[in-house]
Symmetry: C2
Subunit: 421 residues, 2 copies
């Protein structure tokens, strides 16, 4: 296909999305809910077809010499299909993110103002191998009255096609345009490049995948990007932490699932409490299968720790490895986090309420926790029903992004012939 | 100056801004208020010096063959200086946009969530000839706990320097870093280009000026942009409008100040009401000094109207000219606005509550008004104290942008040893 033809096809997706979005803008919640529930039903009804399509995707990817982790992300089974369908229903069950008046006031002269939530417009979601991202993204877009253009990895294209057919069926059953959710029909990598330039037709671009995808999108896109970069998250065990709680929280924060973005990557430990806390922490981490790398002060207390390198503090392991750094109280912990954190998720474990409040107020991150595991950094755990990712930027939305964060607002102003002096 | 040196200087501004922003993050409201009030005081105290600097700016710009409108925007007098100082005080008087908990909830297991407003981080404001933008932007940044990097037009540089000296004095008096608000010290145009690439050091870029500036920034910037493009605003006089009210509102919407972005550019008029409304509207507009251009149906009713061209509907006149288009009811009015509006400000004049509510709900614009002038599109009129502009995008903030819109949020989560299952 020529470059011009690809560009034209992508542009046409944008035009269509912009056009149908007007219908979504005013579609009542019951219809959006109906579309989601019918989409879930259709997904279950098509599960045999979906498993077949997915088997072809997986076998082709296997020939393509992909890692087993990649193949695992790509693979669907009955449970994963049920999870997608259940996810659509959970999204349907949540309150309507649209139409809510979140501010209202009136002037002395009677002019009355309301700020009301409206859809963002057109979302584009670029993702990699996981087919379920298509269902989540489509579901959140429908819920929030946005049109969506989805572009998945080539390897998952047959699976994604069936998923989007099911969702299109749900939209039609609810009397909404099936083009509300569109897939980019061309596999050529250049299509993504064109999508990133569609400033008139796409309002927000959401990359969902590994760091290289996000970095490419962030550096090339002319459309605003809601991106997730790294989660170099810290758990800070303060001198006044309860030792048993610290062990439980730290092991969970690192080892529950070391590969997710909310996992803790570095353990900060007060010098005052090193003797009391570190041996137990290291033992518990090792028991859970975690390698522990310590700085000089940590290694002086617990023998046999690997030696942490300076680069460790800026490493997102996403693996069963943790760095331990000993700090000299809250100030030094805050300094370390300011220098090495990525604004994702940070936690303190302490019984000292003053230290806890200071940490919660001074640490600049999307999510700050006291006496809780960083692995709670998740839209589902926050009660958002589903998430399209965790935003590590500061613009528009921060932290887990659910349907309510895919909205904008407008002002409705009511007068009785008011003119401005 | 070499390119590398300019880049390095701009980068250094970014590093400094990022560093001082941590202090602002936690500066109590009283201190930020104190800085603003002391800044206002210093501005008044330095007014002779400022007038002198401004006189040099103006005389150099005059040699540069600038238009009189340009020179007027550049020129300061005692009233304008007082308006700047009063603006800083008005910003100080508004409630604190930071620290407010705007959502909170707890899970059944006791894990408690709060969403709290925090500063965005580092703002960069690129503006043109008006020196007062420096005071507004600096004031809003200080209020919202953001560090700011300002880059004004070369022509206003001496005036801006004095204004920022006054504000730096206010910051120091309040014990806040004077580098909280920095000006780009190099005049080279390349400096703006470097500023637009500072993704690690600048969180939001705000262009404040004419369309070519905004377009340049939007097309080149790698930093997220909060921009104002065009305001092609409509006032729709519905068949059931009160004729006297329609005249008053339309004349105000167009002619109070034809050059502001909230001015109405096109009048839509119901076919049903053309005979009743149009002659009076044209007479009132002409009396106010406005040229009226009509489509065929309008010209059939009122003789001597200029002939509107197709391009008129996409023209932002910013002048004493209005286009009149006759439409066949609410649907056609909504169609016209969807096709030609720029998402800025749209108004309906009608006594019919159903038509009004339909217009308010279906028109997709930052501001929609019923029986009120589009010229209310202004942060001051909305009660925001001051504004840094009106955002016509849909991301982050929409409509008038005041201090509260220059914030982000973070989640504070409090547990008692909670781990994720």
């Amino acid at each position: 296909m020529t470059m011009d033809l690809i560009r034209e096809q992508v542009l046409e997706l944008g035009r269509t999305a912009r056009r149908v979005q007007r219908h979504l803008n005013t579609a009542p919640h019951e219809r959006r809910q109906h579309a989601l529930r019918e989409g879930a039903r259709a997904l279950r009804a098509r599960s045999a077809e979906l498993l077949e399509a997915n088997a072809v995707d997986v076998s082709q990817a296997r020939e393509g010499d992909r890692t087993s982790a990649f193949l695992d992300r790509l693979r669907l089974d009955r449970d994963r299909i049920e999870a997608m369908a259940g996810g659509l229903e959970a999204i349907a069950d949540r309150p309507d993110p649209l139409g809510r008046v979140d501010q209202s006031w009136a002037r002395d002269d009677g002019l009355a103002f309301e700020r009301v939530r409206v859809p963002l417009g057109v979302l584009a979601v670029v993702f990699e191998s996981r087919p379920n991202v298509a269902a989540d993204a489509a579901g959140l877009a429908v819920k929030s009255g946005n049109a969506a253009i989805l572009r998945g990895g080539t390897e998952s294209r047959r699976s994604v096609e069936v998923i989007l057919e099911a969702i299109a069926g749900g939209l039609e059953a609810a009397g909404l345009p099936r083009e509300s959710v569109q897939a980019v029909p061309v596999q050529d990598r250049a299509a993504v490049g064109h999508l990133l330039q569609l400033t008139d037709h796409v309002d927000l671009l959401i990359p969902r995948g590994g760091r290289s995808l996000v970095e490419r999108v962030q550096s090339e896109s002319r459309v605003p990007v809601l991106g997730h970069l790294m989660g170099i998250n810290h758990t800070y065990v303060h001198a006044d932490a309860d030792p048993a709680m610290a062990r439980e929280v730290v092991v969970n924060a690192k080892m529950r699932r070391p590969g997710i973005c909310g996992a803790t990557e570095t353990l900060l430990l007060d010098e005052d409490g090193v003797g009391r806390h570190l041996p137990g922490l290291v033992e518990a981490l090792r028991e859970a299968g975690c390698r522990v790398r310590g700085d000089a002060r940590a290694r002086a207390v617990v023998a046999g720790l690997e030696e942490a390198q300076a680069a460790d503090w800026d490493t997102e392991w996403l693996d069963a490895v943790i760095g331990v750094r000993v700090v000299n109280g809250v100030d030094e912990a805050l300094e370390h986090i300011a220098a090495h954190g990525t604004g994702h998720t940070e936690a303190i474990v302490t019984e000292d309420a003053v230290a806890a409040e200071r940490f919660l107020s001074e640490v600049d991150a999307a999510i700050v926790l006291h006496n809780a595991s960083t692995q709670f950094a998740d839209g589902g755990e926050f009660g958002f029903g589903a998430e399209i990712g965790i935003a590590t930027g500061r613009i528009h939305a921060r932290g887990p992004v659910g349907a309510e964060h895919l909205t904008s607002y407008k002002y409705r102003v009511r007068g009785s012939g008011h003119v401005r002096p």
